[in-house]
Structures are given as C-alpha cells and as structure tokens.
Amino acid sequence: MSGIVLQGVTKRFGDHLATDAIDLVIPDGAFTVFVGPSGCGKTTLLRLIAGLEDIDSGRLLIDGVDMARTSPAARGLAMVFQSYALYPHMTVRANLGFALKLARRPAAEIAERVEGAAAMLNLTPLLDRRPAALSGGQRQRVAIGRALVREPRAFLFDEPLSNLDAELRAQMRFEIRRLQQQLGITAIYVTHDQAEAMTMADQIVVFRDGRIEQTGAPLDIYRNPANRFVAGFIGSPRMNFLTGPIAADYGCATIGVRPEHLLLDPAGAVSATVQTVEHLGSESFIHLRTRSGEPLIARGTHDLDVHPEESVRLRFATGRVHRFDAEGRAVPANNTCLETV
C-alpha cells in the first residue's frame, strides 16, 4: 500500500500526552493539511512522521514499510521548517545540494538537480548568495528547493508561511499547491490557519488535545462538521452558536449557523441589535447582539444598508442549521436530540 499510514501512534512528553493513539491514512499524491489550535499535537505528529521525535508506541507505514524506528534521512521524506532552517554558512547552491552531497552523488548529477530545482523556483540568479542576503520569500523558496532536490517520497511542511507578510503568504500558498500538483508528490502541511487548510488541502485533519477531531475534504468538513469544536474552528468568520430557547426549538442543546446562512428578514424569528458593520467592498459583516446578549455575525452583500443601534430581525437559511448535543457532537438532521434542554 502506498502513501503514509499511521496506526495507534502515541507520543508522551513526561506526563503530557502529545498524540493519543492516532490512526490516519495520508493518501499517495494528495495534499493533507493538519490544522488545529497551538498545542494540539499537529506539529508533534509531523515530527514523529519525519523521525525527529521517537514514536512511543504505534506503527508508521511509509509505502507499506514500517519506518517507526528508521532514521529521518532513510525515510525519504523532506521537511520545510517554519524558520526555513537554511545553512547560513553555505551559498544557496550548497544549501540545495547538501543532501545530495551527503549521499555522495556525482558532482555532475548534483549540479544538474540543483539547477533544475533552482529554475523551477526562480532561484537561478541567487545561487551564489548566502541566506543572509535573501528576502523572506526567497529564503522560503530555497527551503522548498532544498526539499525538492531530494526527490522525496513526501514533503512535510511545518507552518512554512507564518513568517511571511499577508500578500506573500497568499502567493506562496498558491505556488506550493501548484508545485505539489505538478509533481504529484504526497504532502503533509501543518498550519493553525484554517484559511490555509481550506484553500490548499485535498484532505484536512482537524486536531485537538492530541486527538483527531475530524478528517475529510475541505468542503465536507465545512458543510458537515463532526462536532462543535470543528464547526467553530473551520470557517471565517466563525460559526454562530446559539443556546437556550432558540436551540430548544430545534430540539437541541446548541445550534450553529454560519454567517452566510444568517439572513436579514423582517419576518424572521430572531430579533437582534446591530453593533457594527464591516464593509469589505465585495461583501460586509454585520456584528449583532441578540436580546439575550449572545453575539452573532451575519455575512451580507456589499450594498447592505443597516446601521449601528438599528434593530433587525433574522432568520436561518433553510436546512443550514447545525445541531449539537450537550457533549458538542453533531446531531444528524433526521435524528432527534435526546438531551433536549
């Protein structure tokens, strides 16, 4: 079986359970994103796959071979670090060729592969510079190039874009995705930014407290979150949660409605007061407060005409209300919730 398979992968740091018996399949050639709040175990899991940390128990199959005890280099994976981790005392050329040099490849082959990767990433004019003489985006590209040159079984990315400014981040997001699709190499990408996860992934894995909360395609997770945590974590602005009588009407402890499914309607059942309106040009976000004091966000069109302090009425788009039981688990539409409030 190709791809990367994790079976019961557990890691402890002292008393802290960093990953708790993780079972996961990373499909061959797909772009998998690990996402979750900081300290959720996503980076630890990546480092366990890379071999930079030792797995306490469980199996790690890479292309069908258990590599849980194999040295990092022998796993055939390449990693792009958050800090880029370029070798500051080497030129870009030496940085790119370092792994091949360690593997004692012939000089002609090293030169050819380094130049190939450099051309693919527009690094050719920078080959004789040192990392200190490069901009953040250029360093990032060298870090990716260093991974590329090795022709690895999979790319591992550890929050690679978090040190870049917003514009460059969006551009690199696209570049990384394009490169991965072009080469068809398996990629695992760790981020805490749900927008990165949504835009880049074939498969998203949502983590919390060392456990997987949900695995699936971006839109599947967006449309059918498995629980309240995933519902709140994926999507921006985040999903609105309502409890009390409104939720009770739906027979549940909590209901969730995404901002785009909260509609202004004079005949709506929910009344609220407008707090502020954010106009983004293409759309606008209305911050509201219900009579019982719960904050809500609704997504509106660009020409929306409401004003702070205005009282409005809202309704939920049909079939777009997510229901959660008292433990926060999602309740399917045709089930009734046992623990009604």
Binding site: G14, A50, G51, L52, S71, P72, A73, L77, A78, M79, F81, Q82, S83, A85, L86, Y87, P88, H89, F98, A99, L102, A103, R146, R150
Partner: protein, 274 residues
Amino acid sequence: MSARPRNRAIATLLAWGASLAIAFPLLWTLLTSFKTELEAVAFPPRFLSFDWTLANYRGALADGEYLHALVNSVIIAGGSSALVLALAIPAAWAMAFAPTRRTRSVLLWMLSTKMLPPVGVFIPIFLFYRDWGLLDSRIGIALLLAAGNLPIAAWMLFSNFREVPGEILEAARMDGASLRQEIVTVLAPLALPGIASTFFLVFTLAWNESFWSLNLATTEAAPLTAFIAAFSSPQGLFWARLSAASILSIAPVLLIGWLCQRQLVRGLTFGAVK
C-alpha cells in the same frame, strides 16, 4: 563644547587610564627586559632613556632550558586543550540539543568541581601518579589540566551552542547527515567563534597553570611556568634577565590572542550582539 563630546573625552581618558594601570606591570617587565642589570635596579628608574640591549634574551636562551620548557608548554597546553574540545563539544551538543530533566543539575555539578581547591586532592593524585609512572610526564600533566578545564569548556560551548537554532541541525538530519557530519559540517562552522574562544581560554589556562606543573613536573616535563619559577631562585637578583625570561614565556600566548582577537571578541560576546 557640548556635554556629549566632553563625556566622551572623559570616558576615553578613563578607559586609557584603566588599561594602562592594568598593563603597567607587563609593560614595565618588557622595558626591564631590554635594560642592563645595573639599569634595571637603578633608582630612580629610567623610563626610556637607557641603553637598549638584547643581552638578557641571549642569556635567558643560552642554556637551552627555555626551548625545552617552551616545547613542553606547547605540547601540554595544546594537547590538553585539544582533548578538552574533543570531549566538551559532544557533551555540549548533548546538553544543548538533547536536554533531559537533569541537564541543569549536570551543568551545576560540573561547575561545582571547579570550587574544589586543587591542593585538597594533591596527595591522592600525587600517589596515583607515582604508582602509574605519570610523575614528570607531559601526558600526565596534560590529562590533569584537561580534566580541570573540561567543566569551563563544556559550559562555554553549551551557552554558545544554544544560540544555534536547533532546526538547522534537524534540517541536516533530514538531509541525511550522521551525528558526526551534523557536528562537523553544520554546528562547528556556525559556532566557530565560540569554539575558538573556548580553545583560547583553556589553552591560556593550561599555559599559565603552575600548581600542578610545579609539583608534578620538575625536569623532563617542566613547562614554562616551572622554568620561570626555577629561574627566579638562583638568578632572582638578575631582574633584567628574569624579565626577559618572563616575556619569552608569555609571548606565544600574546601572539595567538592578538592573531585571533576578532574571533575572540565575537565568541566572548556571542548572543549579546547576534
């Protein structure tokens, strides 16, 4: 004149004054080494207006003792410093990049061994060395000085290595570097100033060490410190020649320090001005 240049001038003056005060004994020894014995003890002393002579250096070098002691010093200081680095670099790597819960305690324990006065272990070490035939041997002295300087070197390298981002070493590991390659091709070049200043420090300490050298190495393995000590008793009245011998003893270290001062300044202030 505004306040700022005046303060600057005062600070410069103070710095020069302090430097001169610290360097005065050394400079005076240097001057004395070029005087005749008569001028060396003349009162009031002559500052620069005396007959400059190299006779004292010829005298100090005459009996071959100096060269023998110089060779011993180079071998003992160089050998012990090389041994210290060979042990301290892996130790500091382990503490900086693979720390455990007890790393802090190990560091403090290592430092605590420096609090022990050497004279407290002199008798047992002397007896061991006598039985093992290490008395008056260069290897014996070098081993002892290496053991004594190892804690300082491990501490210095530890704090230097901690300035090197661990992710760079992990990147090397992912690229297929063995532990030795990781240390030699990635860590060592990045920590070179720290390693150079550590080497210089332990080299100087070993060069200047006199307690063990005087007591355990009397003739065959006697380094320059023993040479100077031996020189001062029979020829103690010959100030000029003694000064020449002293200058000859410290010259090699001064020369090395001057040659690598740029690396040293970077190494000793590493982290403060990254």
